[in-house]
């Protein structure tokens, strides 16, 4: 039976939906950012980068919701079949998977603010700048944004790699905690 809340064996629908949404949006966001950043200064670049910034703020809000949800509804524990170091590695990885995207998005928001390119969220709401326009700081924040996104890509590769290992090599039903319908 599908549950809304987390159980000892699996995440509930709410946690699964939040995970799925953030996963799809982060992949979209990385592709969108890489595509837009490599366009020459043009209307297309202005449009795609505006969507990128709006989407980034949306993901930031969703990640904060996930963090809050974790406090309300504790995640299912990892199986005892996993070694102690694996527990530590998994916990550290999950922390980083929350922290790094948040930092990457904040660096992007700071960069947009420093460049004077204020965000209007999907043309619906003007978002306050985090700092005043500072064109000397802007290139440094841009570089920081890129480094953090690069780090995030590495983390995602490790995260997906670990999931594949658990599902196809260890068969320990760790992955089924997030995808309980997968037999």
């Amino acid at each position: 039976m599908t549950r809304f809340l987390n159980s000892k064996e699996a995440y509930g629908i709410i946690a699964q939906l939040l995970h799925g949404c953030v996963a799809v949006l982060i992949f979209t966001q990385i592709v969108l950012g890489l595509y837009a950043a490599n366009l020459p200064v043009s209307m297309a670049r202005l449009q795609w980068l505006s969507h990128h910034k709006s989407l980034g703020l949306t993901i930031l809000a969703l990640v904060i919701m996930r963090l809050l949800w974790r406090q309300i509804d504790a995640p299912p524990p990892l199986p005892h079949t996993m070694a102690k170091w694996e527990h530590h590695a998994a916990n550290a990885m999950h922390r980083a998977l929350y922290l790094i995207p948040v930092l990457a998005m904040l660096a992007g928001w700071l960069y947009a603010s420093a460049a004077g390119l204020t965000v209007n969220w999907f043309g619906q709401m003007l978002i306050p700048d985090l700092i005043a326009k500072n064109t000397e700081l802007a290139p440094l924040l841009k570089a920081l944004h890129h480094v953090l996104v690069g780090l995030l890509v590495l983390l995602l590769i490790a995260h997906i790699g670990a999931a594949v290992r658990h599902a196809l090599m260890l068969h320990d039903r760790v992955v089924q905690r997030m995808f309980p319908w997968w037999r």
Binding site: M43, L46, Q47, A115, G116, L117, V119, G123, A138
Partner: protein
């Protein structure tokens, strides 16, 4: 005799009128002055500066009589080098072909320190009549003028092709002018 008196009268009248209309002309200074543009990009405010401009502003008895200003669009400075390069290019100011933006006043109506100035603005070969209210004020013992000129960039061919999409880049541009004036010798 009557003829001589008439000529003398005309001479005195001309002299008095001339004294009354003596102009004091000033130079607008780039250093300490500022010309800023404001626009909306993707629905959010965006601004940048023009670093070089010159101008002559004349007053007679506290009333602004004429203004003749030139701005160098190649001095545009947004702080983003890529964007500055695009603004100098064909689709925006085409600075190679049109290195100057000019404004020459044709009529001024002064009321106190507010001077409603009409004149011809020429950008990128497009000449249009515009009106701007300029304010004169003393700041730090120096005369200064300021004002905001609202214009439609599309009327001057600023942002052609894809850039003419006003949903993403507003048609309205506001030029904020604020410059101290130095008395001409």
């Amino acid at each position: 005799m009557v003829e001589v008196m008439r000529w003398a009268g005309l001479f005195i009248l001309a002299a008095c009128t001339h004294v009354g209309a003596v102009e004091e002309c000033y130079t607008a200074e780039t250093s300490g002055g500022q010309v800023t543009f404001r626009v909306l990009q993707a629905g959010a405010p965006y601004s940048g500066n023009f670093r070089h401009f010159t101008g002559e502003v004349c007053f007679a008895q506290g009333k602004l009589t004429r203004i003749d200003a030139t701005l160098d669009p190649a001095s545009v400075d947004t702080g983003l080098p890529e964007l500055d390069a695009a603004l100098k290019d064909e689709e925006f100011f085409a600075v190679r072909e049109f290195p100057r933006v000019t404004f020459v006043s044709s009529a001024v109506h002064s009321q106190g320190t507010a001077h409603t100035t009409r004149g011809t603005l020429e950008i990128k070969g497009h000449r249009r009549e515009v009106e701007v209210v300029l304010h004169s004020q003393q700041s730090g013992g120096k005369l200064a003028i300021s004002g905001a000129l609202k214009l439609d960039r599309l009327q001057y061919g600023i942002g052609t092709g894809d850039w003419s999409n006003t949903k993403w880049l507003s048609a309205e541009v506001i030029l904020d002018i604020n410059t101290p004036l130095t008395r001409k010798k």
